[in-house]
Symmetry: C2
Subunit: 158 residues, 2 copies
DNA sequence: GATGGGGCCTCTAGTCACTGGAGGTTCAAG
DNA sequence: CTTGAACCTCCAGTGACTAGAGGCCCCATC
C-alpha cells in the first residue's frame, strides 16, 4: 500500500493541502496516521475517499449531501435510493439555475443593446437600472450569477 | 418630499432593513438624516438609489460593479462606455456559467439514470463518484451550483 | 399621562466552502 | 550538516448578506 504526504495527495487529487486539512477538521476525511514529526501520512483509502469528495463537489453537491453520500458508500448494505434522490434533486437545482440565468441573460442583452456610449446622463443602461419599478421577480435568490442560495442540495432526506 | 423610516423604505424596495443598514456601512447608501431619537429617515433620493442597487444586484452585478455604476450615474457628464462594458462582461459571465451548468446537468442525468435503486454496494452513482479518474475539468470554480466564483464581475475597468 | 407592543438602534457572530498568512517545525536532497 | 521546500497549527478573511441579543423609541390607545 502506497503512502502519501499531504502534498502528494494534493497533487494526486487536485485538492489543495489546506482544503484537505479543512475536510479533516470537518470530519469528511478521517484523521490520518502521523509521521514521527507530526506530518500527515495517507494511504490509498484516503486517496479514494478524497477523490469521491472532489468528484461530488464538482457535480455541485453541497457538504451535507456529500456527507450523506459518503455515509451510503460506507455502508454497502444500505439502500441507495437516497443517492438517486440526491442526484435528481441536484438536477432540479441546476435546472432552476439555468432557467433563472437564461432570463437574466436576456434582460442584460437588452440592456447592453440599448446603450451606444456617450454621456452617462443619457445612458439607457443607467436609466433602466434607476427605474424603480418592481418588475416582480418571484425568486428570492434573485439573479446573482454566484448566488448564495444557501440551503440548496441536501435533499438526500426528501 | 416624502420621507420614510427604514421599514417603509424596505417595503417600498423589497430590500430588508438589515441589508439597507449594511449598504450604508459599505458606503453604497449615504448615511441618512436621523430623527431626534436616532432613527434613520430617508427621502426619495435614497429610495431611487436603493432601487438602482437592488435592480443591479438582481442582474447579478457584484458590489464592485455596482459601486462603479453608481459612480457613473452620479456624474452625468462622464462617459458611459464603462456601463456598457460592465453589462457585456456580465453577459459573458452568465454564458460561462450556463455552459458549465449544462455540462454538469448532462453528467448528473447520466449518473441518475444509471441507478435503479438497491444495495448501495452496487449503486452506479456511488461507484461513479468513487471512480478517481481525473477527467479534467479545467474551470477552477468547478461545478458548484452556487459557486463562490468570487472575483467575478467587476470588469468595469477592462 | 401611562402603557403596550412593534419598530428601531448597535454590536456581534454566523453562513458556505474554502483561502491565505504568520510563525514555527520537519523532512529529504545534496 | 546545511539548506530550503514542505509541513505544522492557529487565526482571520472572503461576499453579501442574515440572525440574534439586549436595549431604546414612537405612536396609538386608554
Amino acid at each position: 500500500m502506497a503512502h502519501y504526504s499531504i502534498g502528494a495527495l494534493s497533487r494526486a487529487t487536485g485538492v489543495k493541502p489546506t482544503t484537505i486539512r479543512w475536510y479533516e477538521g470537518e470530519g469528511l476525511l478521517p484523521a490520518p496516521v502521523r509521521s514521527e514529526g507530526g506530518h500527515r501520512v495517507y494511504g490509498d483509502a484516503e486517496l479514494r475517499r478524497l477523490g469521491f469528495i472532489r468528484h461530488a463537489r464538482e457535480l455541485g453537491f453541497d457538504m451535507a449531501a456529500i456527507r450523506q453520500l459518503l455515509g451510503l458508500a460506507d455502508q454497502p448494505d444500505s439502500d441507495c435510493t437516497a443517492a438517486h434522490a440526491a442526484a435528481t434533486a441536484q438536477v432540479a437545482a441546476i435546472d432552476a439555475k439555468l432557467r433563472q440565468l437564461g432570463a437574466l441573460r436576456a434582460e442584460l442583452v437588452r440592456l447592453a443593446a440599448a446603450c451606444e456610449g456617450g454621456r452617462a446622463g443619457e445612458c439607457r443602461i443607467l436609466e433602466t437600472l434607476a427605474d424603480h419599478a418592481h418588475h416582480g421577480c418571484a425568486d428570492p435568490s434573485h439573479g446573482r450569477v454566484d448566488a448564495a442560495s444557501s440551503h440548496s442540495t441536501s435533499a438526500l432526506l426528501g
